[in-house]
C-alpha cells in the first residue's frame, strides 16, 4: 500500500522554481528521509504535503487522497511535526495534548486514555502539569511528538525534526521514530540535512535544487558510488557535485 504518492510536483516562488517535477512514492510502514541542503526545496515539499501550501502543478496523495483537492480528509491521516515546536508555552503539557485532541475531534474517555498513553510513552507523566515554556528543548520536542501522535495518524511528516536538539536528544528522537515505524506501523517521512538522520531511514531521497537526484535504500545508494568506503555524504556529493555543507 502506498502511503504517499508525489507526482510531477512543481512549485514556483515568482520566477524561482523551488520544486522541479518531483515524483516519488513511500510505501506504508516505511521510514523515508528527504536529504538535502537548506534551500533545496525540502520545506516547500513538506508544506505542500502538510496542506499548508498549494503546488503550482502536479499532485500529492496521502493514502490515495489528493491533499490539494481534499485537504480536510488528508489532514485526518497526517501528523505534522514542524521545525519549531508547535506547542503553547503558556499551557501545561496536559493542556497542550488536550487542545490537540480537540482539534482532531477527540474527547471524553478516548481522549483521556490517549493522553495517558502518550504521556507514558514519552516519559512525560511526571511533567504533565508543567507549563511547556519551562521545559528544555528536548522535552518540548517530546511533547510535540506526543501531541502529534495522539490521534494516531498513519502518516507522520517531520521537517528537520532534530533541529535545535543536542546529540543525546537527537539520538533518542531517531530511536523513537524507528520504534514508531516498527511497532505501530506508522509511515514516516522526514526532511533533513543531516547524514546521521537520513541513515536511519529505510529509503532516502536526495533533493538538490528542487529535483530528486537519487532515491533508494541507504545501503544501495552507498553501493552505487565508486569509492573506497563511501558514506551517504559521498553519495550526495556524487549526485550533486557539491557537499551538504555548501
Amino acid at each position: 500500500m502506498t502511503a504517499l504518492e508525489v507526482t510531477d510536483l512543481q512549485h514556483r516562488y515568482g520566477e524561482r522554481e523551488s520544486l522541479r517535477g518531483l515524483s516519488f512514492s513511500v510505501a506504508a510502514g516505511d521510514l523515508f528521509a528527504l536529504l538535502g541542503p537548506n534551500g533545496g526545496g525540502k520545506t516547500t515539499l513538506f508544506k505542500i504535503i502538510s496542506t499548508l501550501m498549494a503546488p503550482t502543478s502536479g499532485a500529492v496523495e496521502v493514502f490515495g487522497i489528493d491533499v490539494a483537492r481534499q485537504p480536510a480528509e488528508a489532514r485526518r491521516r497526517l501528523g505534522v511535526v514542524f521545525q519549531s515546536a508547535a506547542v503553547d508555552p503558556w499551557l501545561t503539557v496536559l493542556e497542550n495534548l488536550r487542545h490537540h485532541g480537540y482539534l482532531y475531534g477527540l474527547s471524553g474517555a478516548p481522549l483521556g486514555r490517549g493522553i495517558e498513553r502518550a504521556l507514558e510513552r514519552f516519559g512525560l507523566t511526571p511533567r504533565a502539569g508543567d507549563r511547556v515554556g519551562t521545559l528544555s528543548g528536548g522535552l518540548r520536542r517530546r511533547v510535540e511528538l506526543a501531541k502529534v501522535l495522539l490521534p494516531e495518524p498513519p502518516l507522520l511528516v517531520l521537517d528537520e525534526p532534530s533541529s535545535g536538539l543536542d546529540p543525546t536528544a537527537r539520538r533518542e528522537l531517531l530511536q523513537e521514530l524507528r520504534r514508531l515505524c516498527e511497532d505501530a506501523g506508522t509511515t514516516i517521512v522526514l526532511t533533513t540535512h543531516l547524514i546521521e538522520e537520513a541513515a536511519v531511514a529505510d529509503r532516502v531521497g536526495i533533493l538538490h535544487e528542487g529535483q530528486l537526484v537519487a532515491i533508494g535504500a541507504p545501503g544501495d545508494l552507498v553501493a552505487n558510488v565508486p569509492a573506497g568506503q563511501p558514506t551517504l555524504n559521498d553519495v550526495f556529493t556524487h549526485h550533486t557535485g557539491t557537499g551538504l555543507s555548501s
Binding site: L52, A54, F82, V87, W90, L91, L106
Partner: protein, 249 residues
C-alpha cells in the same frame, strides 16, 4: 467544529489569565480611559455635547473604546502564533477553518466582555443608574461588538507578518473608527462629511445602542442598529474564514 472552537477559545482565555501584565492592563485601562480622559476633557466638551456631565456622556463611548482595543489587539496573537509555529500546527489539523476563526474571535470577545464587565463596576460613580435589564442588554451589545471587531482584527492580522505592521494598521483603523463613532462627540454638531463618515462607521450603531441603554438618551431604532452590528460581525467573520481557508502559494 464545536470542540475545536471551544479549544481555541479556552486557550486564548487561559493565556490571558496566566499573563499578569495583561490582567492588570485590562483592569486599569477602563479606569484610566474613562476617569482621566473624561475628567480632563469634560469641561471642554460640555458645551458641544449639551450635557451637564461629560463623564455620563462619555461612559458608553469609553465602553466601546475598551471593546475596540481589547478585541482588535487580542488578534495580534495570530502573528505571534505564526512566528512561534503554533498556528501551523492548528492549520495542519483537520479542524474546520470556520472553527479556527470562531474560536479566535470568541476568545477576543470573551476578553472584551471581561474588560467591559470590569468597567461596568464604575457605573455607580458615573451618575448613571440603568436597570439590570439595560446592563444585561448592554453586555450583549458588547459581546456582539467584540465578535465583529475580533473578526475585523483577524482580517487585518492574517496577512501580516510582523507585529509592528499590525500596530501601524491598527492605529490607522482604530483611532478614526473610535473618534467617528459618536463616542467622544455627537454627530449633530459635526460637519456634513464627518456626519456621513459617522453614519458609515460600523462602531456608531454600537455606541448608539450602549448610550440608549446606559444613559437613557433617545436613540434611533435600536433593533436596526443591532441588526447592522450583526451584519458587520457576519461580514468580518466570513471574510476572515475565507482568508484562513486559502493555502499559501
Amino acid at each position: 467544529m464545536i470542540l475545536a472552537t471551544y479549544s481555541l477559545w479556552l486557550r486564548d482565555v487561559l493565556r490571558f489569565l496566566r499573563q499578569p501584565s495583561r490582567v492588570i492592563g485590562a483592569l486599569l485601562t477602563p479606569v484610566i480611559f474613562w476617569f482621566v480622559i473624561g475628567s480632563g476633557l469634560g469641561s471642554s466638551f460640555q458645551t458641544a455635547t449639551g450635557e451637564t456631565g461629560f463623564l455620563r456622556y462619555y461612559f458608553p463611548g469609553s465602553l466601546a473604546l475598551i471593546v475596540l482595543f481589547t478585541a482588535l489587539f487580542s488578534t495580534i496573537s495570530i502573528i505571534e502564533d505564526r512566528q512561534e509555529g503554533f498556528l501551523q500546527g492548528v492549520l495542519a489539523s483537520p479542524a474546520p477553518r470556520a472553527a479556527i476563526v470562531l474560536g479566535k474571535a470568541l476568545g477576543g470577545t470573551t476578553l472584551a466582555v471581561i474588560n467591559g464587565l470590569v468597567f461596568m463596576l464604575l457605573l455607580p460613580f458615573s451618575g448613571l443608574s440603568p436597570g439590570v435589564g439595560e446592563v444585561g442588554a448592554a453586555m450583549a451589545c458588547v459581546a456582539l461588538l467584540g465578535l465583529a471587531l475580533s473578526g475585523l482584527g483577524i482580517m487585518i492580522a492574517w496577512p501580516m507578518r510582523s507585529a509592528q505592521g499590525f500596530h501601524g494598521i491598527m492605529n490607522a483603523v482604530l483611532v478614526p473608527m473610535w473618534l467617528l463613532s459618536g463616542a467622544l462627540f455627537p454627530a449633530s454638531g459635526a460637519s456634513g462629511w464627518v456626519q456621513t463618515l459617522m453614519r458609515l462607521n460600523p462602531l456608531t450603531p454600537a455606541v448608539d445602542i450602549l448610550r440608549a441603554l446606559l444613559t437613557g438618551a433617545p436613540a434611533g431604532n435600536v433593533a436596526t442598529a443591532a441588526g447592522t452590528l450583526a451584519v458587520f460581525a457576519l461580514i468580518t467573520l466570513s471574510i476572515s474564514t475565507l482568508l484562513v481557508s486559502r493555502p499559501s502559494q
